[in-house]
Amino acid sequence: MGAGNLGSSLARKISGMGHRVTVIENDPRAVSQLPRGRIESGAMSVVHRDGSTGAAMIEAGIAEADVFIAATGKDSLNGLAAQRAKTIFRVDQVLTAVKEESTRSLYDSLGIITIDKTSIASEQLAGLLPEMQENQETPVKQTEQ
């Protein structure tokens, strides 16, 4: 969810690793940051809606998703969407971008993996994904500050 700087670079990276990626993004300018070739070839899909709603998640195929990543620039919106993905749609691995360091412990306690986008490069995060697929029981190690 979210195709801003973080979301679009994550989508590009993860899609490049061969995973199926659907991006939920309402803003056409943000959507234009996504790799057009991948969208045209069908490797990446885009849902043009407000990503925090259940309807947008369903349209994006949340029922089959292994991972949900909330990557908008608004912490609380990411938090709400991540909790919907985890609680209502029961997605295995849920990650959320958090700008304000002090709110991380809240999401940690809810079993949602936090991404501090100011200190983590998208490469590092993308590197975590194959681990999750091979061994879903092992919690992904939190990136250090």
Partner: protein
């Protein structure tokens, strides 16, 4: 009780005012300086500018000694974050949130908000009580939707009250299946069955004439 209200807009502002009148100590947090100024003008220094989902702002509002937090912004994500931060970081005993979007009400409850007020549900509940209470309830479509099973409650002062089924003219093809009286007794829909006020009529009705059936059954004397 000391109460922190997050969001001083069209809900938070009057809420703060009424809680103060009831003798509570209230503090309001809002990100909009104009709203904070309005609150301060009308209610005194009980409001400050701050982001609802920021720990620092909640702390400045004295959240650690609050008996409850009431999240009443027009942004559901901020309402949820404020309640969860208040609980997880400051152990606030009671968290109350408005869900502006009704689909968030269930989520809020599932993730531990103590009291969720769904704005839409409140409006609907109020409207429903203001409307005449002899609704048409569509129970089930039948025969590929050509017919439908419906229930209609008869108004106490209805034109059909006191008459038998054979005395009233129903739309062609309507079959009355069952009559349930207000006290829960069921009556067979025979030709000589007498209709009483508040009876619930269950009927199999051609979909095209259901509206007409409702009009006949709910017409007032």
């Amino acid at each position: 009780m000391y109460l922190v209200i997050v969001g001083g807009g069209k809900v938070g502002h009057p809420l703060a005012s009424s809680l103060i009148n009831e003798g509570h100590e209230v503090f309001v947090l809002d990100h909009d300086p104009a709203r904070v100024a309005a609150l301060q003008r009308q209610l005194g220094m009980i409001a400050t500018v701050g982001d609802a989902s920021s720990l620092r702002a909640l702390e400045d509002a004295g959240i650690s000694r609050a008996g409850a937090i009431i999240a009443a912004t027009d942004s559901d994500e901020d309402n949820l974050a404020a309640c969860q931060l208040a609980r997880s970081n400051f152990d606030v005993p009671r968290t109350i949130a408005i869900a502006n979007n009704p689909e968030n009400a269930q989520l809020f409850e599932r993730v531990g908000v103590d009291l969720v007020v769904s704005a839409t549900d409140l409006v609907i509940a109020n409207l429903t009580t203001a409307l005449p209470v002899h609704p048409l309830i569509r129970l089930m479509p039948v025969a590929d939707r050509a017919q439908e099973l419906v229930a209609v409650k008869l108004p106490a002062a209805g034109a059909v009250i006191g008459r038998t089924l054979s005395e009233i003219t129903l739309p062609y093809g309507t079959n009355i299946v069952l009559i349930v009286s207000a006290d829960g007794r069921t009556k067979n829909p025979d030709a000589d069955a007498v209709l009483e006020g508040e009876d619930e009529i269950v009927a199999l009705s051609p979909a095209s004439t259901t509206a007409e059936l409702w009009e006949v059954l709910t017409e007032l004397r």
